[in-house]
Symmetry: C2
Amino acid sequence: MAKTRLQDVADVAGVSMKTVSNVVRGYEHVSEKTRLRVQQAIDDLAYRPNASGRSLATGRSGMLALVFSDVSIPYYSELAHLISELASDRGYRLLLEQTSGTLEGERAVVSAAEGGLVDGVIFQPSLLSSAEIAQHRGDVPFVLLGEGPAPLSVDHVMIDNIAAAAAATSHLARLGRRRIAFLGHELGSQTQTSKVRLIGYQNGLEQAGLPLDLSLLIASRSVNAGESAQAVREALDHGLEFDAIVCRDDLAAFGALRALQERGLRVPEDVAVTGWDDVAMAALVHPSLSSIRPDTRTLATWALDMLEERIDGYDGIGRHRVADFELVLRESAPAVS
Amino acid sequence: MAKTRLQDVADVAGVSMKTVSNVVRGYEHVSEKTRLRVQQAIDDLAYRPNASGRSLATGRSGMLALVFSDVSIPYYSELAHLISELASDRGYRLLLEQTSGTLEGERAVVSAAEGGLVDGVIFQPSLLSSAEIAQHRGDVPFVLLGEGPAPLSVDHVMIDNIAAAAAATSHLARLGRRRIAFLGHELGSQTQTSKVRLIGYQNGLEQAGLPLDLSLLIASRSVNAGESAQAVREALDHGLEFDAIVCRDDLAAFGALRALQERGLRVPEDVAVTGWDDVAMAALVHPSLSSIRPDTRTLATWALDMLEERIDGYDGIGRHRVADFELVLRESAPAVS
DNA sequence: CTGAAAGCGCTTACAG
DNA sequence: CTGAAAGCGCTTACAG
C-alpha cells in the first residue's frame, strides 16, 4: 500500500488539506469538532507527515550540522551530547559530520555540495585557514567553535586559551614546581590549538618568573594519548628532568599519567600534571586529573543562539564571544595548601 | 538574491532542466559539449542542488538515523565514529538521536512523528520491550543493535554476551582466582545487557567449578564509572573479600581500578579485573585493562548491509546475526603464564 | 473558521 | 542525446 498523504487524511475526514495541515501543526483556530474528526482520521490512517515535503514548502529542514574531526574523541563526544540535547530543546535534530581532521574533510564542509539539507552549521575547524572559511557554503548560517582562525564575517565562540594555559602553568608554579614541561603539541606544524596553548604556557612561566626552556616542550608524533605517553617515555629515557607537565589536552595527560606511573614516578609528588577539557574520565583516573574546564554549556548555548538569529534573518558581521573556563583542581595537581 | 535553482542553470546554459539534472547527477549519456556548457553555468551561478527537492522526488533522503542512549558514553561515541565512516562510504549521512536511556525517549524513536526524514534506522535499545519495538515507525527500514530483546520481524546484530562473560570469568579462574566478583549491574531492575552478562558470569563460574556466591554481585546505583567505584568502596568497607572482578563494562572497570588503587590494593596481584567493550581508554589507564572486544566493525557492516537490503526493497522476516568477540588481555588480568 | 490553487525544487517516465 | 510535463507531499497567501 502506498504511504498515506495529507490528501488521504483530508478525504477521510471530509475537509481540505489546509485544515489537516492546521491540525497537524497545532494551529489553534480550528473548531474542536473538526480537530477531533481530523485527528481520528490521522490515527486511523497512521498518517506521518513527510519531512521532505514540509522542508521544500517551508524552506527549513529543522536540522543542524555538527562538524568536527572525530566523534570518538571524548571532548567531541561530550560536546555532541550536550549540543544534541540543547538543539533538541529548540526543535532541531543534529546531523553529525566528521572531517577526520583532514584538510579535504574540512574543505568539503565549507563548500558543501548540497543546499537545503540543514538550516545551520556548527563547525569546529582544526586546520582550515580563515580565508577559506570565509567563503563558506553558500548562504547557510554558520558558527565556528574553538580557537582556530575565525574570519570577521562569521560568528565564533571560544574560551581564552592563552589565559587558561597561563592559569594552569601559574598554578603549577605556585605548587613550587620549577621545571614545568608542556606536552602534546604536534611534532611538525602546529594546529592553532597547540599554538595558543603554548603561548599561554610561556606567559604563565613569565608571570612566575621561570625561564622558558625549549627542551621542556615535549611534542607528540600524533595528538593522542598513546603517542603522548610514548613521548614522555622517550623524554625520560633521554634524562629530561621535570617536576610538572602542562598537557595540551586530557588525552595527552592520560598518556602522561600512564608513562609516569610505568616508571614509578609519583603524581603529583614527583611530577604534577594538568589536563585540558575536563572530560568525564578526568575525575575517574588514578590519580584524578586537574584540568581546564571550558564552560561548554555557555559555549553551546551561544553558538545555538547566534545560529538561530542568523536562521531568522540576521545578516550582520560576525560576532565573536569568549566563554569562561575554570581550572578544576584534583589529585594530579592539587590546590596549594 | 534568491537561491539559484535547476531552472536558472537550464536557462543560462540554454538547455532543459532534464539535461542539467543529468549533468548534476553524473549521468553519462550527455554530449561533452553540453556537459561543459552546463557545468560552466553551474559554476557561474554557484548552483547547489536542493536536498529537499531531490528527496521529495526520489523518495530517499540519503540519511540514516543512529539511535542510542547517550553519545558521550565511550562505547557509543566509538561506535558512532565507526558507523559514520562506514555509512559515509556508502553515501549516507548520519542523524544522531539520543534517548537518554529513558523509556519515553526510546518510544519516541519507534513511533517517530515524521516520515521521509531518514531512509533507515540503526537503533540500540536499552529498555524497550520486544513487542513495542515490533511496531516500529511506519515502514522505515530498521536494524537493532545489542543484546536487547529483538522481535522476530526485525533485523538484529549482536555478539554472544553469555559466551563472552563466561570467557572473562573462566580466564580469571585460570589465573587462580577463586572469589570472582561481578560489578556494575543495576541495583534495581536489570537491563537486558546486565542480565545476559550475569548469566554468562554464572556459566563461567560453573565451568570453573566455582560456587556462585550472591554476596559477590556488586550492584551499582547507576550504570557509570563513578557509582561503580563507589560500590566497590562500600563493598570493601563491608569487608567483602574478592580476588577478581568481572565488570559489566569498561566504565565500571575504570571505577573499580580507581577504588582499588585508592585502598592500596594492587591490580592484578591482589585483584584482577576485566572490562567490556575495549574502549580506547582501556589500553591507556594504569594498569591497562583486559577487556571483551566486540567485533564492532563486523557488527556495523552487517547492520548497514541489512539496512541497505531493506531500503532496496527486501521485505522478509528479521535476520539475526551474531558477530565475534575477543578477550583482549592486558595488565589488569594478564595471560596465564 | 475553511477551501481551492499555486508553488517549493527536484526527478522521471514519456516522447521525440 | 534532449525536451515538455507531471508529480513527489507539503505550506501559504488569497478568497470566502
